[in-house]
C-alpha cells in the first residue's frame, strides 16, 4: 500500500469517526438543552417537583436545608451554569467534527475550536466546585445560625476534567503547528 493510499484511508477513518462523534455531540446538546428546558418549566409550573429534586441531591448528605423562592432560584441558577458550559462544549465539538467530516483536518479553524473546547473542559471543573459550593450556601443561608454551611469539595472527576482540558489545549497548539506545516506544504509543488 502506497503512502497516498494509507493517507487516504486515514482521512476516511477520520471522517467516519467524526460523523459518529458529531451525532453524539448533537445528542449531548439535545439532552443538555432538554434538561435546562425541563427544569425551567418545572420552576414555573411545579416547584414541589423542583424541591423534591433539590432534597434528593442535597439532603442525602445529611444536610439541613431551607427551600424558599430565593434559595430555589439561586440553586437552579448555580446548578444550570455547568450545563450551559456543556452546551457550549458540545456546540464547539459539532463545528469541529463538521470540519473533520469535510476533510479539513490540519486547519487553523480546527485548532481554534479544539483550543476553545480544551479551555471550556478545564474551566468546567472549578465551575462545578464553585456552583456546588454556592448552591449549598444558598440552601443553608436561611437556616438558623449554627446550621449554615459552606461546603467545598474536590473529587477525582474534577482533576480528570482539568487534565483532559489542558491536554486538549496542548493538542490544539500542536494542531496549530501542524496547520502551519500543512499550509507550507501546499505551497510546495
Amino acid at each position: 500500500m502506497s503512502v497516498d493510499q494509507k493517507s487516504s484511508l486515514s482521512y476516511k477513518r477520520i471522517k467516519s469517526l467524526a460523523r459518529y462523534a458529531c451525532v453524539f455531540s448533537v445528542l449531548g446538546v439535545i439532552i443538555s438543552i432538554g434538561t435546562i428546558a425541563y427544569y425551567s418549566v418545572l420552576m414555573l409550573m411545579d416547584t414541589q417537583a423542583v424541591d423534591a429534586a433539590i432534597r434528593e441531591e442535597f439532603v442525602a448528605a445529611g444536610r439541613a436545608i431551607t427551600i424558599n423562592g430565593v434559595s430555589r432560584a439561586l440553586t437552579f441558577m448555580f446548578e444550570i451554569t455547568p450545563v450551559l458550559i456543556g452546551v457550549y462544549i458540545f456546540s464547539q465539538a459539532i463545528q469541529l467534527f463538521r470540519e473533520y467530516m469535510s476533510g479539513r483536518v490540519f486547519t487553523f479553524e480546527a485548532a481554534k475550536k479544539l483550543n476553545k473546547i480544551g479551555w471550556a473542559v478545564a474551566a468546567l471543573a472549578p465551575l462545578e466546585i464553585l456552583s456546588e459550593t454556592l448552591a449549598v450556601m444558598a440552601l443553608t443561608i436561611y437556616n438558623p445560625p449554627g446550621q449554615r454551611q459552606l461546603s467545598i469539595g474536590i473529587s477525582e472527576t474534577e482533576i480528570y476534567a482539568i487534565i483532559l482540558g489542558l491536554l486538549l489545549v496542548t493538542l490544539a497548539k500542536i494542531l496549530h503547528e501542524a496547520a502551519v506545516i500543512s499550509e507550507e506544504n501546499q505551497a510546495i509543488i
Binding site: 507550507e184 505551497a187 510546495i188 509543488i189
Partner: protein, 71 residues
C-alpha cells in the same frame, strides 16, 4: 526572489505546452502555471525529476540563481 524559474523558456525550446507537461508530470496545469510564475515556496525533488525527464533537461535549465540587489 533570487531563484528564478525559467520553465517557460525550456517549454518554448521544447515546443511543449503547459497542459502536455502537466499530463506527463502528473500535476495540475494550475501548479505548472504557479511554478512558471515563481509563486511557489518550493519544488519537490520528485517533481523536479519528472519535469527534467519530460523536458529532457537538467535542473539548472529550469532554475537559475540571480543575486539580489545589495547582496
Amino acid at each position: 526572489m533570487a531563484i528564478i524559474v525559467t520553465l517557460d523558456i525550456m517549454l518554448a525550446k521544447r515546443k511543449m505546452r503547459s497542459k502536455e507537461l502537466s499530463e506527463l508530470v502528473g500535476i495540475t496545469e494550475q501548479n505548472i502555471s504557479l511554478l512558471k510564475s515563481g509563486k511557489v515556496k518550493g519544488i519537490r525533488f520528485d517533481t523536479l525529476e519528472k519535469i527534467c525527464d519530460a523536458l529532457d533537461c537538467q535542473p539548472a535549465d529550469i532554475l537559475t540563481y540571480e543575486a539580489e540587489d545589495g547582496s
